[in-house]
């Protein structure tokens, strides 16, 4: 026998199920009054510095169906690359948002400011990106991915550089559709499958 490691294992995940909105976005589920406020309604407040952008997209299952029940959370830095709570961070950027696929169309919309590039350990610089976490019925453990932008320099990003199949890099890059507007679709499985992260 050896000494035991003093480590507790993470609690196993379970699917968020079809009614996740009741818990995380009760007003979306038709329960508007139970709390005085809903968490994560917007990642920005009036006066947030930087370019205000709108990202629209859908999440498709392996059959190509735009899922109507997915729930997303996003987390990002402000326009200068600082996260809320870090020294010098923009007080009008919480950086955090909860949003859902529309029950009729399956489309989501995220209105935010474009984040700046982020300093990593060892002098690495991450290209501007928004972290995205996705849960839904049938997803047994929440999926993590990132939204990068096609009009930014992504050439030296340490995460994108690690993707061996270079054509898959494209699945993490939001496409500019108009001034301040981007499209970012997520494909859960099969052709054009989004790169999901274990990070």
């Amino acid at each position: 026998m050896v000494q035991p490691l003093d480590i507790h294992e993470e609690t196993p995940s379970q699917t968020a199920g079809p009614y996740v909105h009741i818990g995380l976005m009760p007003s979306f589920a038709g329960i508007p009054d139970v709390y005085e406020n809903q968490l994560g309604e917007s990642p920005i407040a009036d006066g947030a510095k930087g370019e205000v952008i709108e990202i629209v997209g859908s999440i498709y299952d392996g059959t190509g169906w735009a899922m109507r029940d997915a729930l997303f959370e996003s987390w990002q830095a402000d326009a200068s690359g600082k996260f809320a709570g870090q020294d010098g961070a923009d007080p009008n950027v919480s950086g955090y948002c909860r949003f859902a696929a529309d029950g009729e169309t399956g489309e989501y919309t995220l209105k935010t400011v474009k984040p700046g590039s982020i300093a990593g350990r060892g002098g690495q610089v991450h290209a501007p990106h928004i972290s995205l976490w996705i849960v839904a019925r049938g997803i047994n453990i929440g999926l993590q991915t990132r939204i990068y932008f096609e009009d930014e320099d992504n050439s030296n990003d340490p995460l994108l550089s690690r993707i061996e199949q270079r054509q898959r890099v494209d699945t993490l890059i939001a496409k500019k559709t108009a001034y301040g507007k981007y499209r970012f679709d997520v494909r859960l499985q099969g052709e054009g499958e989004t790169v999901f992260l274990d990070i």
């Binding site: 995940s13 379970q14 009614y19 009760p26 009054d33 968490l39 991450h126 976490w133 340490p158 690690r162």
Partner: protein, 242 residues
């Protein structure tokens, strides 16, 4: 800010398998390509904070919060309580815990739930709280009913409460479910069975806790939650040279 170190990589073996034909919806909703593994950075190690001022006095009382304190929900009164820890065994203070559940008859207050059990006019089914300085949390609620769901011919969900926990880092984000000690439906449930290691599934089964049950009022169930921890960084410089 001090570098608390990267997040400990997730041990995917303890988690449910993403693709499980027994849970039919997972078949088209599971990635077929491997995940891209990488050491965490600021995007995963930071996260939002939620102030105590945001929370109302009844937010963690599902018996009373839907009726704004005017009438109690129907059902067996229970206290759900426990501690949020990290993998180092340290309590995680001031972290957001949210729950949602069916009512005592097994029906959710949701437009997509058409189960024939009735809605309870005094039950919404959601609660939220922040852990205290030691990582402890509690909810007063009613025991949810089991309910049938369209999967195989006759599948029923065991009694369960859905739980979302934040931690302090976006990479700690976790959603799970709490089951109840002694429920025979746990062994028959295809969603519980997405966790292939039985001892890991057992970690989601809350024991009856008579020590925290209140006479003539409620039974208690204990449910601790472990979030990802951080690796220590004292030899970080040497790694950079590689």
């Amino acid at each position: 800010m001090a570098d608390l170190g990267p997040l400990i990589p997730r041990n995917r073996d303890i988690h449910p398998v993403p693709y499980d034909p027994g849970y039919k919806t997972s078949v088209a909703r599971s990635p077929s390509q491997p995940l891209l593994s990488m050491e965490s950075g600021a995007s995963e190690e930071t996260g939002p904070t939620f102030g105590h001022g945001t929370f109302g006095a009844l937010d963690n009382n599902l018996i009373m919060n839907f009726s704004k304190g005017t009438a109690p929900a129907i059902g067996e009164r229970i206290l759900m309580h426990g501690k949020v820890l990290d993998e180092r065994g340290r309590g995680v203070p001031n972290t957001l815990v949210e729950i949602w559940q069916a009512n005592a008859g097994g029906r959710y207050r949701h437009k997509k739930d058409g189960y024939l059990a009735p809605l309870d006019p005094n039950f919404g089914g959601c609660g939220r709280t922040l852990t205290d300085d030691e990582g402890n949390y509690q909810f007063l609620t009613i025991r949810p009913g089991a309910y049938p769901w369209p999967n195989r011919g006759n599948d029923w969900r065991p009694m369960h409460i859905h739980i979302s926990v934040f931690g302090h880092s976006f990479g700690q984000r976790l959603i799970t479910q709490m089951y109840f000690q002694g429920d025979p439906l746990i062994d028959l449930c295809p969603i519980a069975a997405t966790i292939k290691n039985r001892s890991q599934l057992d970690r989601l089964v809350a024991p009856l806790d008579m020590s925290n049950s209140r006479p003539l009022d409620f039974l208690a169930y204990k449910f601790d939650i472990v979030l990802r921890g951080r690796r220590q960084t004292m030899f970080e410089n040497k790694l950079e040279g590689m």
